[in-house]
Symmetry: C2
Subunit: 384 residues, 2 copies
């Protein structure tokens, strides 16, 4: 199989972009990635998006955004896998390049969630769950995650503060990140006093509704590597049951575990070789369970380890160095691409105030849809 | 690149399935394809669907349908490209197999359009057009196609009856097809007297709102070819502007022309080598323009040639041998897969009463999204 590298990255600030449309955001991120790669044409476009069909009444985003970018005639499709749509779009694009069909592929994730009533957005997000099995019972994503949060505390005897400490670290990293939505530090005390959303999940345990777009240009790696190319050495998608109640253990993210094992095997490394990780912390409990499924920490121990500071920017294993879903923000279909762009910036040594102090060479990103019904894991390596 | 073959096919009857859900339909088609292939497990699932997110409020169809099929852990994604979603899902799956990552891949298209008010469906279908550029002006798909229909008649001096004759042939083929929605012959006189939908498009010029699912199992072709495998020798997606008014010539399906040229080049053949064609006749005018863009007939001449019977089941170049979108039916995201399943059945000599009498070896399928904003072309060849 061909080797595939990231040759350009681009992103928009994450936030409430009342003055920008979905295509404005996408074009901005895409043009930045194309400029960064120094390319003016592409063979194919892969779009990661979840909610445009429902919130914006705009489908057919492949052809639509290729048109907005002025690329006529190219191959273009849109990939949907709930909140893992961005990661899934990248995984498909990687295979397309490996197949030999394309040389230059633009992969972008985008979501425009504002301009719509919050209730509509919350409702739309439940479409990543089983409609009849879950949504019609009145369950929402935050409600389901609240059950996991409570079960985790009870089974492992872990306090609320330890789980919530992940959010404090997220804000700490985001405070220095130009493109992050919440550039503000919070204390654990503030987080633990924030309004209850779905007991025991509080406001600061959750990621925000927001807008954003991120993009990558990927290409086969050839002999003349003349830039700081980041190789995609592992790429995998795995799925498990849609509904948590059908799982042997609701606290085990089996899809994440499977996707990570496959991607690490492809890369020929173990999780211990990874220098930094981007995890899908849609809620603090989601982040904690992700760290355990990735086998970064033992089961029932991740919250303790986070609380001890091991996942801070210059801790043992830096996690979500630009603030993650919690504080950089979670523009659904774009999130998986933001993670990879941010990891690539770290590996290129271009993370600015967020740069990890020691040399970093290998990164892993984990992007999930539903409650780990789909998991997408990528392993990136700096090759120069 | 690896060679890829179709080793199993399955489909449901097309119609108004008031007693079946989207997943019932998908599972039925998928199980038939798996049985036909003689396989019990797969590495990956690709789903083509357009409207589930809007009409059924169910997204995340990759993980959702993998779960319904009982395949735990597999790679699964959903692809959307308007009415070309099915064809696009196949094109992505073909590259995934060519990349070397997967051996057995299930590709299914599904759409559940009934159980919803017709107005909602018509509205949802416009999401394959540019929302701001077209839909908000009040244009619908049939309205836009009506403009093309009128322009075609005017520019080329072609009568209504010649264009509409494509529908008569579609019903003729569907009358013998078990899975077709309209198993009923119509006369040209009946068609020309049918109610006006959007002048000059009449009821019998249009394809129906319906439900259906179709599936394929694809795999690398190895030495021990022990079944009637159909090789996918060409596969391409092309795009052009979303809106017809931005095109140099509204009557030229540039995306179809590009995708066909690429797919035929990959197959190393010309359109003259093709024995049968499945075209995207969402409206009779769409079918006529598709035949011209595929260079089967000269510009301005396709309706004449159709009227002369050249595209009938045993004509010079058989087109839509099971009735096409018009009479087999057009379950949006499934249509592209129905086309490939039907072409494969012809090449396998298993088309029953619809079997073309002479030996057929090569087929071409054309599936479009919007008004040719996306075009997907596949070229299939019997290898034994």
């Amino acid at each position: 199989m061909r080797r595939v590298g990231i040759i350009g990255v681009g992103l928009t600030d994450v936030g409430e972009h009342w003055d920008k449309s979905l295509d404005d955001l996408f074009v901005e991120a895409a043009c930045k990635a194309l400029d960064d790669a120094g390319v003016r044409k592409i063979d194919a476009l892969y779009v990661g998006n979840m909610l445009s069909m429902f919130l914006r009444e705009q489908g057919h985003l492949g052809a639509y955004l290729a048109d907005k970018l002025g690329f006529r005639g190219i191959h273009a499709v849109s990939i949907e896998a709930g909140c893992a749509s961005g990661g899934a779009a990248l995984a498909e694009a990687v295979m397309a390049v490996k197949s030999g069909r394309f040389k230059l592929v633009l992969v972008g994730g985008v979501e425009k969630m504002t301009d719509t009533l919050t209730d509509e957005v919350t409702y739309g997000l439940t479409f990543a769950e089983d409609v009849y099995g879950m949504e019609y019972s009145g369950a929402t994503f935050v409600g389901l995650n609240a059950m996991l949060h409570r079960l985790y505390m009870k089974r492992y005897g872990v306090s609320e503060e330890k789980i919530t400490s992940l959010a404090v670290q997220a804000h700490e990293n985001a405070s220095k990140a130009k493109h992050a939505m919440f550039k503000k530090r919070i204390t654990l005390e503030e987080a633990l006093k924030s309004p209850m959303i779905a007991d025991p999940i509080r406001l600061f345990d959750t990621s925000p509704i927001c807008d954003g777009a991120a993009a990558l240009v990927i290409a086969p790696i050839n002999q003349e590597v003349d830039r700081r190319i980041i190789e995609i050495v592992g790429s995998s998608i795995a799925t498990q049951t849609m509904s948590v109640y059908e799982r042997r253990d609701m606290l085990w993210f089996e899809a994440t575990n499977k996707a990570a094992k496959r991607a690490l095997r492809e890369a020929g490394i173990s999780i211990r070789d990874v220098d930094l990780i981007e995890i899908h912390d849609a809620f603090t409990i989601t982040g904690v369970l992700s760290l355990e499924a990735l086998e970064v920490f033992n089961r029932g121990k991740a919250a303790d380890e986070v609380f001890l500071g091991k996942t801070r920017l210059n801790g043992d294993i830096p996690v979500n160095t630009f603030g993650g879903l919690k504080a950089r923000g979670h523009p659904i279909g774009a999130t998986g691409i933001y993670q990879v762009v941010e990891a690539a910036l770290q590996l290129r040594g271009e993370a600015g105030a967020n740069q990890i102090k020691r040399d970093v060479k290998i990164a892993l990103t984990q992007n999930i849809g539903g409650i780990d019904s789909t998991a997408v894991v990528h392993v990136l390596r700096r090759i120069k």
